[in-house]
Amino acid sequence: MASNGHQRDDESIDEDETPTKQPRSDREMPGCFRNEPDNEAASPAGRATSQRQTSNSTARLRSDSVKKTRPPFPWFGMDIGGTLVKLVYFEPKDITAEEEQEEVENLKSIRRYLTSNIAYGKTGIRDVHLELQDLTLCGRKGNLHFIRFPTHDLPAFLQMARSKHFSSLHTTLCATGGGAYKFEADFRTMADLQLHKLDELDCLIRGVLYIDSVVSSGPSECYYFENPTDPERCIQKPYTLENPYPLLLVNIGSGVSILAVYSETNYKRVTGTSLGGGTFLGLCCLLTGCSSFEEALEMASEGESTKVDKLVRDIYGGDYERFGLPGWAVASSFGNMVSKEKRETVSKEDLARATLVSITNNIGSITRMCALNENIERVVFVGNFLRVNTLSMKLLAYAMDYWSKGQLKALFLQHEGYFGAVGALLELLHPS
C-alpha cells in the first residue's frame, strides 16, 4: 500500500488545488481555523499536505491561514451507521479556469458523477431537497450534497472508489459512525483509503450546530409542530434555535442515543435504547415481508394500529380514571394479537402502523423521562428514522406535549440523519 500510495502521490502533486480569492464567509463557523496535527506528516495524507502548502506558497502574498490549512478537494464527510451510510459532499462552485485546468480527471469525474446524478447504483440516493447551495466553507463557495446508501452496499461503494482511483486524490476521508471502525480495514485493503475515524456523538453535535447556523434561506432548518395534540390544527412551524443550550438531542438511527448537550463540547450521553429505526424496519420486514424503510412507512401510513394494540378503553370501557389514563391510550402494544381471531383479521398495514407507533411512543416515553431527570425542556429529534416519517414526528410532538402537559417541546431538523456526516466533514476542514 505504501508504494502504491507513493506513486499516486507523484501523480497528484501538480494537480493539487490552488487557493482562491474567495473571502471568508460570514456564515462560516468562527474559530475553526487551526493548524493540522503534527502527525499528519507521517501519514500518507501528510505528503499531500506538505505538497499543498508548497503550492500555496505561490500565492503567499494573499494567503491567509485559511488557505494554509485548507485540505485538498474532494471534501467528504462520512457517517457509517448500522443501517445507512451517510455521505456529505462539498461541490465547489467557484473553481477558476486555472483550477479547472489543473484539476485531475479523477476529481472532475467524481464531481460530475455525484452532482449530475440523484441515484447511484441500485441503492444510493442523493437527497436533492436537502442540498445546501451557495455555502461558503473554508473560504470556498459551493453546494453541499447529501447522499445515502445502505451500509450493506458499502462493498460496492468501495469497489467504485477503487475503480475511480479515489486514493490517488490524497484526500483525508473523515468518517464517523461504528462503520468507520468496523470497515476501516476494508477501506484500506479494498480501496487503499486511510480513514480518519471520528467519534459519532462529537460529530453529531458539531453537525447539528453547524447546519443550524448556516441555513438561513429556504425552509427553516429547525421546526416544530404547533397544536400537536389537535390533528386538525397541527401544523409545522419554523423554530429558531438561538441559545440552544441546554438541549436534549435524540438521535434515532438503527438504535437510539439520547444526549444532554450543554455546549458544543460539553455533552453527555444520558442513555440509549435498542428500540430504534432498525427495530421498526426489522420487525416490519418479519411481520409484513416488506424490504425497505419506504415500503414499511408507506404501509404504516395506511394501517390502523388500534386493531393491533389494546387500548385503555378496550380494558376499562373508557378512561381509567383512577390513574388519569385516557381511553385512547395504548395499554398494550400488540396486546390484541394474543387473540387468534384478531391475528387473523389484521392487515400488514395495521401491523406496520402498530410497529411504528409502539417504537415511536417508546422513544418518546424514554426521552420524556430523560428530559425530566436532566431538567431540560427542549428536545431535538434527529436521525434517519424520521426521514419522510411525519407520522412519527407528529406522534413524538404529541407525546412530548401531552404527557408533559405542555412543558416539553419537540423540535426537528430538516437534515435529520446527516449531522454525523456533516460533523465529519467539519473535522476535515477544521480539525478540533
Binding site: 432498525g278 426489522g282 424490504s291 380494558i315 401491523l351 424514554i366
Partner: protein, 780 residues
Amino acid sequence: MAEFVRVDSSTSSHTMDKSITLPPDEIFRNLENAKRFAIDIGGSLTKLAYYSTVQHKVAKVRSFDHTSKEATNDNLYEISVQEEVTARLHFIKFENAYIETCLDFIKDHLVNTDTKVIKATGGGAHKFKELIERKLGLKVDKEDEMTCLIKGCNFVLRNIPHEAFVFAKHTESEYRFQTTQPDIFPYLLVNIGSGVSIVKVESEDKFERIGGSSIGGGTFWGLGALLTKTKRFDELLQLASKGQHTSVDMLVKDIYGGSYGSLGLTGDLIASSFGKSATADKEFSKEDMAKSLLHMISNDIGQLACLYAKMHNLSRVYFGGFFIRGHPVTMHTITYSINFFTKGEVQALFLRHEGYLGAIGAFLKGAEEDNPNQYSWGENYAGSSGLMSVSPDMNPMQRARSGTFDMLEMDRLERKLVNLPLLQDASSYIPDTVDLIEDAPAREYWLFCFEEALDGVVKRAVASQPDMPEAAERAEKFRQKYRHKLQTLRHQPFAYGSLTVRSLLDTREHCLNEFNFPDPYCKIKQQENDMALKYYQKAVKALDGLSWEQRQFALVRGVLAGNVFDWGAKAVSDVLESDPEFGFEQAKRQLEERPWLVDSYDQWFERLKGPPHKCALFFVDNSGVDIILGVMPFVRELLSRGTEVVLASNSSPALNDVTNGELQILTESIAAMDPVIQSSLEEDRLILVQSGSSSPCLDLSRLDKVLAMVVRERNIDLVIIEGMGRAIHTNYYAMLSCESLKMAVIKNSWLADRLGGKLFSVVFKYEVPITDHLSAALTP
C-alpha cells in the same frame, strides 16, 4: 399500562373441560367454614381467596387442685386436648380452564356462609361475573385492580419474612431472599401485565401510578405469536430460553466491529433490537426471534423502571405481573437490565407470592370491617405449596393436573408480632445463622437429618395420643406430608423463602399441627417436669452451700447441663431414650471442660462483681431439668442480686420446649417451695411473658407485642438466650443494644464439627455492645 390481559377465547386456549376432576382433599380445604370470598381472574390464572376458620386441637395444661384429694396421681398438672378455632386465609391459584369446575365444587361444599358478596378483581372478573353470580349466588363486587395489587403487596411484605428475593442466574443459589425491612415503604412496584404500570407506594393507603409503558407482557405475547406462530405464553418463553438473540439483533460490534470504547459500550450490547432482520431474504428461527423479543421488552421495561426509580429516588423496586410470575427466564432478563441501567445501584426484587397479590388485596378490601391488618399473619408451611410448584421449567413432573393448583395459606396469629426493641439494627437483623440455600453441604446434612429423625417424630406423635386409635393413621399422613416437603426442598430449596434449620423445624411443627398432633411431647414434658421438680430444693440447697464465686460458675454449668436434656437434638434423644436415668449430674460430666468452644465466662464473672442488672430478659428453652434445675436457680440468683427477671417462653408447643402455660404452673409450684421465687412473683420482680413464637428457634423480629412493651417498660439491660435452637441456629450473630448472654450446648456432632468443636461443646457468649463503655468490649 394496563395491569392484566383481558381474557378472551384465545388466551384460555384450553376449553372448559367439565370432566376435569379436582385433586381430592388437598385443595379448597376448610371450605365448609368458609366465609368471605375474593377472586382475581387474570389472563390465564384464577386466584381464589377465602377466609375460613380452622378447628384444630390444642394441648392445654391445667394445674391439679392439690388441696382436694381428687388427684389420683403425682402429676403436677393435667394435659387436656381442646378444640380451638383459629382464622386462616386460603389462596388457591389455578388455570382459568378450571373456573367452572371450581365454582361447582365450591357451591357443593359451601355449608353455611352469611356473605352475599364476592370481591373480584383482574381483567377476567368482568367476563366471568355472570358465571360466578349464577353458580355461587353471590353478588360480584368489582374492586380496582391496582388498589388490590398494592394492598396485597403490602400484606405479604409485612407478614411474610423473606417474601422478596433477588434472582441471580448462574450462581449456586439463584434465589437470594431479602430481609424484610421494618418499614416496607416507600417502594416502587413495576407490574408487568399486558402493559406495564409503575406505581410508587408511600404508605398503606398512599400510592400513585407514576408511569407505565404499553410495551409489556402483551407485547411479548402478541408480537411473539405473530412472529413465531406460537400461541401460548409459556411456550413462547420456552422458545426464548432456547434462542440466540445475536442472529436477530444488531449488536454494537455489528456496527463497530468491536466495542464503542469511548462510551464504554461493549461489543455485545444490543444496538438495535431486530436490527438484523431488516431484510426480506433471510429466515430467522422462532427461538431466536422469541429471544430477541424477550430481550427487547425486558430491557425496555428495566430501563423505564430505572428512570422512574431515579427520578423518585427509590431503591426498592419490586417486579410483578404475569410476565414475571416466577419465570426464571424473565426474572433473569429483567435483573440483567436493571443491573445494566443502574450499574448495580438498584436491585430488581421479586416476590414469592406475587401471583396472589390481587386476590389478597381484593380479599382485604372485603374484610376491612374485620381489620385484618391489626393482626400478624404467618405463612402455614404445611398448607402452602411453595414457590414454583407449578412451573414447567422447574418441575416438569408436577405438570400433572393436581400440580396446576397452587396454594398459599396464612394463619392469623393470636398476637401482633413486632421487633425486639433491643435489636441494634432491626433492618439488618437476620435471625438465622446458616442460609441453607447458599450452603449446600449444610443443606444436605440437615435435610438428611430431618428425614432420618422422622421415624422418631412419628413414633412420638402416636405415643402422645394413646387414647386415639386413628392417631397412627394421622401420624402416617404427617410423615408423608413432611417427607414430601423435604423432598420438595431438596429440589427447590427456595420453595418457602429462606431455607434454614428454623424453617425446617417450623415446617415440621406446622405439619404436626395439620394432622392434629398439637403437642407430641406433652407427656414427656409432664413426666420430666414432675421429676425435676422433686430435685429443685435439693439443687438449690447445694448451690447455696457454695461460695459466691463457686456458685456463679455452678449456676452457669447448671444451665448448660440442663440444656443437654433436649429431645430436639437427635444425639441426645437417642441417649435419653435408651437410658432414662441419664441424670443431671451425668449431664454435667458430659459437658466440655473450660475453656469452652466459645468462652467468655471470665468477662461474665467480672461483670457479676459489678452492679446488678436492672432487668434481665430470659428466652428459655426446654421443659424438665433444663428449666427447673438449670434456669430457675440461675434466675433465682439474679433475683437475689436485685435484678428483675422476665421469662419469655413459647406461646404454643414446639418439641419439648416449655410453653408459657406450663411455665406458669411450674413457677407457681416452685414458688410454693422457694420464698425467693415466691416473693419475687408477689413483688412483680419476676414475670412470665409469652414470646409469641411456637418454634424451637427464635426470630427476634417477630415477637409478641406485649413482650416488646414489657421490654420498654422495664428497661431491660440484659438479654439471655438459651439453647441450640435460639442461640446457635438463630441469633448467634444477633447484635443487641444491651448486654447479652448466649448459652448453649452443641448436641449435634455435625454442627459441632462445623463450629470446630465436638459433641457437648459449650457456647458461652457474653457480649457488650460496642457503644457501652462499662466494660471492655467483647466483640466477635
